[in-house]
Amino acid sequence: MAWVNQDKCAIVGVGATDYYVRGKSWPRTINDMAAEAIMNACADAGISHKQIDGFSYYSTAGAGYLDKFDTASLMETLGMPHISWSATLTSGGGGCPGAIGLATAGLMNEDCTYTVTLMALQQLPQHRLGVVFGAAAPNPENSFLQPSGLVGPGHLMSVLARRHMHLYGTTQDAFGEVVMATRANTHNRPKAVRKEPLTKEQYDASVMLADPLRRLDFCLETDGAVAVITTTMDRAKDCRHKPAVVHAAAHGGQREWGRAFAWMGMPDPHFASSGHKFTADRVWAQSGLTAKDMDVALIYDHFSPMVLMQLEDYGFCEKGEGNDYVLSGKLRYDPATGKGVNGGVPVNTHGGNLNEAYIIGMTHIVEGVEQVRGTAINQVKDAEFALVSGGPASLPVSSLILRKD
């Protein structure tokens, strides 16, 4: 059944700071970067930042899991006269596109008029995401995981990738193709961190960090901030750009995905998956669309195998066929035609977390907005629908479909 809030709200502004290699943003403060991103997003929308009256966060309003966003501090920093909505999705980066659904809830409830969704990230030595689980103090739950030395997100995902390889014959070559296909989209992006073309030889020479995953299978470690503004469609008509219409948005997950990042109890076939099947089914049901209707897919890519597993969970290919789907080049964007390759839907036309920058999923939303506006640097021809995903991670994870106005 169609979602009751379908096409009633839109993203009208996107803004970002520069992207910095981990730790290089200092002495800028995290609130400085957050405020710049918000003000840039408001300028893009053609509104004053003082018109914002709502915050829709994710990752439990955590910046890099250690700092916290504080609505009161941001209000004071930006001089916002009042707020009437401040809400956050629980769990981690998997909630990123779901935070737009949360904004829609506030807007449709007439609690607020313009909401901002924000991530600012500053990975100083004591704040590295890659070591955050290992550095955490022992607690009764992580005492069943930490002693094994599965201490970073990449370790955890490598175990899932290994099971996928075992069950379906998936190869490291497919992980490499995910990295190379999305790297090919960054050479013309001024702010991208990794812009050089990547050869298979270079990928194969990349150091093995958690066998079967190489360093290049891991996303970047980046500092920076990104913000987006969501409002109702009637207000969106008065904004500067064509609205990126919120066509469907879902967050959640099913019990079999379990505690994911905190424990490895998931049964087959969920273990060797992205845990996205539940929200994938929900956005397709909400929208009446399928993967094949998407013109572009912005797939959360903290680790390359998880892109392959999401393509399966969203139905771009059948479960277990991700290896062949990826290796047939179907992730690639062809600049000559502005379309996909070999009948595929182009994935991460901005380069993604693996190549452009890792702001915990926000860059995927920005790219989705620019694609349906028709202003993307690697514009997909006649793009009408863009899928954005958040996660795999602890639940909830989330999904969003943006539509051209």
Binding site: P138, P140, E141, F144, G152, S158, R162, A210, M264, G265
Partner: protein
């Protein structure tokens, strides 16, 4: 790739904490007894131990002694000690526990070369003393 012998991470660098729901598991480990949390009402196993059975909602618990054998469900091969970054080959494994259907443990495996670890491999429990007098279940090939 060739990694050489898989070694468990040094026990003197490992700390755990417990709460009333999990402590019986760790007390049994101190006695060299591998157990898992079983519902006292419906018999469903769950790990890590939690307050309430997710199947039937009961608070009753049993802690049966398991055979101490397991099957490797998945694994990674790592080559840096996470505590200090030194070169150190270890193999984190996710194992299915014999005698407690549906339960797993995350541990290290030793007693073989890292490149010889494989899914489906049978392993048996191997106790590693860790900080504060606790004992950690690892596995050996």
């Amino acid at each position: 790739m060739t990694y050489g012998p898989a070694r468990a991470l040094p026990g003197d660098q490992i700390r755990i904490t417990t709460n009333p729901d999990t402590e019986p598991f760790w007390q049994a480990a101190k006695e060299g007894r591998l157990t898992a949390c079983q519902c006292g009402e419906c018999g469903h196993f769950r790990m890590p131990p939690t307050a309430i059975c997710p199947e039937c909602g009961s608070r009753a618990k049993n802690w049966p002694t398991l055979p101490g054998t397991a099957t490797i469900f998945s694994f990674a091969i790592c080559n840096k000690n996470p505590k200090n970054g030194e070169d150190y080959v270890y193999v984190p494994v996710v194992v299915d526990l014999d005698g407690a259907p549906g339960t797993r443990l995350n541990a290290n495996v030793s007693g073989c070369d890292a490149e010889d670890v494989h899914i489906g491999m049978k392993v048996s429990v191997d106790w590693t003393p860790i900080q504060d007098g606790w004992v950690l279940p690892n596995f050996k090939a």
